[in-house]
């Protein structure tokens, strides 16, 4: 099977520091893939290279065979890659609905002046966008707070709103940066269901960074492990759990002696 997203020896150097070195991955369409590692291992740097926020020092990113390395973030999004952020970044002054509508802008066909001048096709498109945005809010269970200011929503709702906003850009590949952060076990259980649900409902391929091992092992089909920027292991969850290198990276050498 052809990979939907392929990273070819991505390397990111900041001055003398090598944040990520030779990260390679091939992600099959429809897969849910995890990216784990201790703090500062370079996970978010990988995200930033894939989504165009950083231009990799070396290496390539391919989406469906097309080289998207070095494209600016908005062009990467247009190509079909959406993301969420580790520390939630919503448009705080806008309502939940408005946040999702901003996500739809990248697929908008009409120009700015058309809607301002009451051009009927543009008005119809805005009405369609509104309906679609409400559907997306419904899909993440936020219909009742559509008119609420985004910054006033509770934490869990903000996380889901960020996902709804990412879905609004009609992505093929979705990157989630620590979606379970700050969630209790019950909530992370629901999150796993939710991730599988959106994968199927929106025919997505998902790459997620996560520290909650229950979530990672529960939902991911394939896992990459980074430590100090180097890929130290990859494979299905069961293999990763028993991989001595991974245990060492997470718990230190002593833990391995006890194991």
């Amino acid at each position: 099977m052809n990979a939907l997203v392929e990273a070819r020896s991505l390397t990111m150097r900041f001055g003398g520091l090598v944040a990520v070195s030779e990260f390679s991955a091939a992600i099959a369409p429809g897969a849910i893939v995890g990216l784990i590692g201790p703090n500062g291992a370079g996970k978010t740097t990988c995200f930033n290279m894939i989504t165009g926020f950083y231009r990799p020092t070396q290496g390539q990113v391919l989406l469906d065979g097309r080289d998207i390395t070095g494209l600016p973030p908005h062009a990467v999004c247009e190509a079909g890659i959406a993301r969420t952020f580790q520390n939630i970044r919503l448009f705080g002054n806008g309502t939940a609905l408005e946040n999702v509508l901003v996500g739809m802008y990248v697929r908008q066909k009409s120009f700015w002046w058309q809607s301002a001048l009451f051009w009927p096709p543009a008005l119809r498109e805005e009405a369609r966008q509104r309906t679609r945005a409400m559907e997306l809010l419904d899909a993440v269970g936020l219909t009742s707070v559509a008119g609420e200011k985004a910054s006033s929503l509770p934490y869990g709702a903000q996380r889901r709103l960020e996902i709804a906003r990412a879905l609004a850009t009609a992505p093929r590949f979705l990157l989630l940066d620590e979606p379970a952060a700050g969630m209790n076990p019950q909530e992370s259980q629901e999150l796993m269901e939710f991730i599988r649900h959106i994968r199927d409902a929106f025919s997505l391929t998902i790459l997620l960074i996560e520290h909650d091992m229950k979530v990672v092992m529960g939902v991911c089909e394939h896992i990459y492990v980074l430590d100090y920027g180097v890929t130290i292991a990859q494979g299905p969850p069961a293999a990763i759990q028993s991989n001595p290198k991974v245990i060492e990276a997470y718990l230190g050498e002593e833990a391995l002696a006890y194991a």
């Binding site: 989504t51 952020f85 448009f91 002054n93 901003v102 990248v106 543009a122 805005e126």
Partner: protein, 346 residues
């Protein structure tokens, strides 16, 4: 509330405004009418700066520059060739400057277009700068415009400027342009493009990740704001009938900025209310510049005193109501209707 209700109410509001203007023209003296004219132009200018700063989050201090461009283009186009032949005392004007002539509406529009084109040109390098740096750079731009105006006598008549510009800018033109700007800006802000402007203001990184071409939209907002600043400059030139480079000092930008901050960054209705209030208060405050007798003490009149009083007012606003009169809130028909319903229930 149905859409045609809102439309009907807006239509009525415009009707009421027109009736008031008719009354004003018939019953008010020239001085009061002049103030009403300034109200319209200040609202227009405040709206244009609010679009750039309040809604898109670009701290621009270049408004006087865009106004100057609009004012000069408009003045050159509405002055007749004969007038221009007499005006250019230092050096004769270029033939194409002298022969250029257009009706008022075209001249104002051209002034706006020239300002917008200039905004697109300077915005290209400048809008990559963030916050404070953009403020400094645009401030520099406005100064450059003024210095250039001083030093190309064959186009701008140098430091002498223009006198006797035809006074076409009556209440109807000023309020007409103001209304046009209001409607267009509100329409854009309510469209998805406007939502993206606000998204850029709230979180530029997230906007980029969501596929918003931040640079292009910033350039659009900047140019649109500059267009209306140019329109305002053109109207002002015709209203005051004289312009010279000294008129477009930083103080002019500061006045507009003051209105925007007082009304609320990111509030259209705030700009409208503050635009009217500030203009009228500034005129009304002229009495503090007259000699005042308090019992046996006589204070001599101090020119510029009203700006001191006004600055104190501004400080009070910043201290006690930092977000301005309206913050980012708006007064809308829907809002009024909801408020009335609530009152009826209570």
């Amino acid at each position: 509330m149905k859409r045609y209700h809102v439309f009907a109410l807006n239509f009525m509001l415009v009707g009421v405004l027109a009736a008031l203007l008719v009354c004003a023209q018939r019953f008010l003296d020239g001085y009061s009418i002049q103030i009403l004219n300034l109200v319209a132009i200040n609202i227009l200018l405040a709206l244009s700066l609010n679009l750039i700063y309040g809604f898109t989050g670009m701290f621009s201090l270049g408004h006087a520059g865009f106004m100057a461009i609009g004012a000069y283009v408009c003045a050159i186009l509405i002055l007749s060739p004969d007038q221009k032949a007499m005006l250019f005392l230092l050096e004769p004007a270029y033939p194409w400057i002298e022969s250029a002539h257009a009706p008022f509406v075209v001249a104002v529009f051209a002034g706006g277009l020239a300002a917008a084109a200039m905004a697109a040109v300077v915005g290209f390098p400048l809008l990559r700068l963030g916050d404070d740096y953009l403020g400094i750079a645009t401030l520099g731009f406005a100064e450059i415009v003024r210095v250039v105006a001083n030093n190309v006598p064959r186009i701008t008549n140098g430091a002498l400027g223009f006198k006797g510009i035809p006074a076409y800018a009556n209440l109807w033109w000023n309020y007409g342009w103001c209304l046009l700007a209001l409607v267009l800006i509100v329409r854009i802000l309510r469209s998805n493009t406007g939502r993206c402007f606000k998204a850029i203001r709230d979180d530029e990184v997230a906007a980029r990740a969501m596929g918003v071409n931040v640079f292009r939209l910033k350039l659009l907002s900047f140019s649109l704001g500059a267009f209306f600043a140019g329109v305002g400059g053109g109207l002002l030139a015709s209203l005051l009938t004289t312009i010279d480079p000294k008129m477009f000092l930083f103080v002019l930008t500061f006045n507009v900025l003051m209105i925007v901050v007082m009304g609320g960054l990111g509030s259209v209705t705030g700009s409208v209310i503050a635009g009217a209030a500030v203009t009228i208060i500034l005129e009304w405050l002229r009495f503090v510049e007259d000699p005042i007798t308090l019992g046996s003490v006589t204070l001599p009149g101090i020119p510029g005193m009203r700006m001191v009083v006004f600055s104190l007012l501004l400080i009070a606003v910043i201290l006690f109501r930092r977000e301005g009169l309206m913050g980012t809130r708006e007064i809308s028909w829907e809002g009024i209707a909801a408020w009335l319903r609530q009152r009826r229930k209570a």
